[in-house]
């Protein structure tokens, strides 16, 4: 085994330059990835505090902690913070930025200046939106449905909308940058079917970012103009159509779910192959299922509108297409399971997060089929069933996948190793806490508890207390992750170039990598997951 073959250089991307300005003016994709991590983590903490307040309020049936108006603002701001500032940028902008050029054997992304610009645009958008939260917040729900948002709400809709609008351009530019990078910056010999599956996933995500995000941008802009200048495009009082807003909104916001879940799926593929010590099962199926999800994802948006008065015939078509989009996700899940089958499973922390992902994503995905069914959706629409379903996908899927990837690449990013035992405890805490939080919500929703109210009938209290208890465990789990990862930066053991004995170009350079990634441009001669060719013994 030749993991120590890399000659260590004393200079790496972290210590090559010092001072605040060396970060704020950097064009290094690795540093930009870390800068995204800082902002996203802050947004995550803010969003988690909102979630905590929501769960504390719901511990009792009465509305005793906050007023209904405050509660409306809390769940709106929780949604906006988590969707636009955590889930969408987390894996592409943090992990993608860091590992994509490394995986391609490139010195950087295709447009390093635009990459830095994306970060600044993101920060400006974050500042505007969180500024709006500090100065009164917004109470429309993260979906901004008019005419309430355009003419009735007295909260900070305009500023929040502009913040989301601005942030969208960060996402567009990142997607564009990655797509060009994947097309034009691959090392010699790195053909499309030798690419790691994470790259395929990021490519599919970029496609969604490029095609979808401009639509939400123009939609939010129209809404903002409607609110400020009194246009009537979505206002029924002036002959406009609020359902048109819902169509345009979900044309982006449903595919946005795939912006959130596809990159974590890519990370999962990397981790599963490495910790099963096997070639991924059905490489091309996993690769093309990413593209299929991106394409089908654009054809299902109206399943959010089943009760909005759309034609039953179009509802039928959208229902069938929604079932269809489950197929490529199932292909992935089966292939991951088949990869583990007869693999030599290595029980390290990243793999524990993967197990958590698989279980939660499975539940989230299957309950998505419930909501795709036209008749059943009328019963569970706008209930806690839907809340539980999308949290299983977005937290159980996307965030668990993000953590799997983060734990996998952390030694590469920092050069340090975290405590494996602590990471396993955190993974279990998060898994248990998550299920305790959200599984009761499936039952609550099925029993008919509607979402977005700050009080509820007393018979729902037991399940709600369970949920609040689970949220506390979940919060502890996340806190633990932050503690041991921070600890590892200062006191962690040196990780070495390739602590997991993984394949992939990113592991052939030192940790932390050189400022320009590789001493020499690598030449690739084989596929991404040739674990069988390596004689490795793992503990």
């Amino acid at each position: 085994m030749t993991t120590t073959a890399v000659a260590e250089s004393p200079v790496n991307y972290l210590n090559v330059r010092h001072g605040v300005m060396s970060w704020l003016l950097t064009k290094d994709h690795k540093r930009i990835g870390l800068m995204y991590m800082v902002v996203v983590t802050l947004a995550f903490i803010v969003g988690a505090i909102f979630a905590g307040l929501i769960r504390i309020e719901l511990a009792t049936p009465e509305g005793d902690l906050v007023s209904s108006d405050t509660y409306n603002r809390l769940f709106t701001m929780h949604g906006i913070a988590m969707v636009f500032f955590v889930l969408i940028p987390a894996v592409p902008a943090i992990l993608g930025n860091f590992v994509l050029p490394l995986m391609l054997g490139a010195k950087d992304v295709a447009f390093p200046k635009i990459n830095l610009l994306s970060w600044y645009v993101f920060v400006v958008g974050t500042a505007l939106t969180f500024g709006a939260m500090l100065t009164g917040g917004v109470d429309t729900g993260w979906t901004f449905y008019p005419p309430y948002s355009s003419s009735a709400s007295d909260s900070n809709v305009f500023l929040t909308g502009i913040g989301v609008f601005v942030t969208g351009f960060s996402s567009i530019l990142t997607g564009l940058n990655f797509m060009v990078t994947i097309h034009r910056m691959r090392a010699p010999g790195l053909t499309w079917f030798r690419l790691p599956l994470f790259v395929w996933a990021v490519y599919a995500t970029s496609l969604v970012q490029i095609l979808g995000t401009p639509v939400i941008a123009i939609t939010v802009l129209m809404l903002a103009l409607e609110r400020v200048a009194g246009l009537g495009i979505f206002n029924p009082a002036l002959g406009g159509d609020p359902v048109l807003f819902q169509h345009l909104f979900w044309f982006y916001s449903h595919p946005a779910v795939y912006i959130m879940i596809l990159p974590p799926m890519g990370a999962i593929s990397e981790v599963i192959a490495c910790f099963s010590r096997k070639q991924i099962f059905g490489y091309s199926f996993v690769a093309f299922s990413s593209l299929a999800i991106a394409v089908f994802g654009f054809l299902v948006w109206a399943h959010h509108l089943f009760v909005a008065g759309i034609s039953p015939y179009s509802a039928l078509v959208f229902s069938i297409l929604t079932y269809a989009v489950a197929v490529p996700s199932a292909v992935k899940t089966f292939n991951w399971t088949a990869t583990m089958y007869r693999g030599a499973i290595w029980w390290k922390a990243p793999m524990i997060w993967v197990f958590g992902f698989l279980g939660l994503f499975l539940v989230g995905g299957l309950t998505g089929l419930f909501t795709a069914a036209l008749g059943l959706d009328i019963h569970i629409h706008d209930t806690y069933f839907v809340v539980a379903h999308f949290h299983y996908i977005m937290v159980g899927g996307a965030i668990m996948g993000y953590f799997a990837g983060l734990h996998y690449w952390w030694p590469k990013m920092t050069g340090k190793m975290y405590s494996d035992a602590a990471a396993k405890v955190a993974a279990v805490l998060v898994f248990v806490g998550f299920n305790l939080t959200f599984f009761p919500q499936f039952i609550l929703g099925y029993l008919g508890m509607p979402r977005r109210y700050h009080m509820y009938p007393p018979e729902f209290q037991v399940l709600n207390v369970m949920s609040t208890l689970g949220a506390s465990v979940l919060g502890l789990g996340y806190l633990l992750v932050m503690i041991y990862l921070t600890y590892s930066i200062f006191w962690g053991e040196k990780a070495g170039a390739n602590p997991w004995m993984a394949t992939g170009l990113e592991w052939t350079t030192q940790s932390p990598p050189l400022p320009e990634n590789f001493p020499e441009t690598p030449i690739v001669t084989e596929g991404a997951y040739e674990y069988a060719k390596r004689e490795t013994k793992v503990a």
């Binding site: 030749t2 993991t3 073959a5 490139a106 010195k107 950087d108 295709a110 447009f111 390093p112 567009i172 564009l176 940058n177 797509m179 060009v180 990078t181 097309h183 034009r184 910056m185 010699p188 490029i210 095609l211 979808g212 995000t213 401009p214 639509v215 941008a217 123009i218 939609t219 129209m222 103009l225 200048a229 009194g230 246009l231 009537g232 495009i233 002036l238 002959g239 406009g240 159509d241 048109l244 345009l248 394949t503 992939g504 170009l505 592991w507 052939t508 320009e516 020499e520 441009t521 690598p522 030449i523 690739v524 001669t525 084989e526 040739e530 060719k533 390596r534």
Partner: protein, 232 residues
């Protein structure tokens, strides 16, 4: 050898000096030009989707409110709109000639054609300003003070809202293009471009043609809804 990787001494790259415009993370100037071109096309795809939201709204309301659309469209000045269409097509011609001049390494011709393009763009914007001003004078600005004599006043307001949103967004793109071209012209004047490297001129050209094409769609959709009846 781990991962089947071989050390690669790319001596052919270091054998000759890099072009001054080549950025350090590209292997060759050609790779850089290809990346820019692909990036620009992808950017234009995002622009199509961006305008697409407005075109969708336009399509739906036009199908719902055909009379109001005809009524609103008749309020627009077809002579000014037509004049601007010719001006913009002319500017695309001069832009194409600027790119050609840059490709063939003719510095002065590049600068002159770029300035001509900017002048035509400015003409368009000035005419557009007077069109907006006449709408303002008539009280046709959407919002609480909107004033329109006719049976379908509310629906006409949606038409005029879309008119302002679409042409306003288009004008904003022209202003951005104008700024872009000022920089490119300055670079051309300083002799930064050559037969080997003229990517920025080419990219600005792509952008400008796109803005032009948007107008080619906007003009008939907004100005020519019901002109056939007028001619009879």
């Amino acid at each position: 050898m781990p991962n089947g990787l071989a050390a690669h001494a790319d001596d052919h790259v270091h054998a000759h000096a890099h072009h001054p415009a080549q950025q350090h993370h590209f292997e060759t100037l050609q790779q850089q030009a290809e990346a820019s071109t692909l990036g620009m096309w992808l950017f234009l795809v995002t622009e199509v989707m961006f305008f697409g939201g407005l075109f969708t709204a336009y399509l739906i309301y036009r199908l719902w409110y055909p009379e109001a659309w005809a009524e609103g469209s008749r309020e627009l000045d077809i002579r000014l709109g037509g004049f601007n269409t010719v001006v913009l097509i002319g500017s695309s011609l001069t832009m194409a000639m600027a790119v050609r001049a840059a490709q063939t390494g003719r510095r002065i011709a590049t600068v002159v054609q770029l300035i001509a393009t900017m002048a035509l763009g400015l003409t368009f914007l000035v005419v557009k300003f007077f069109e907006y001003k006449s709408k303002y004078d008539l009280g046709h600005i959407p919002g609480p003070n909107f004033h329109f004599e006719g049976v379908h006043a509310d629906q006409v307001q949606i038409f005029i809202s879309l008119y302002f949103a679409m042409t306003g967004l288009h004008a904003l793109h022209m202003i951005i293009g104008f700024v872009l071209m000022s920089v490119i012209t300055w670079m051309a004047w300083k002799g930064r471009f050559s037969k080997e490297w003229y990517t920025p001129v080419e990219m600005s050209g792509l952008y400008w043609h796109f803005v032009d094409i948007v107008w080619i769609f906007l003009f008939p959709l907004l100005y020519l809804v019901d002109r056939a009846n007028q001619l009879q």
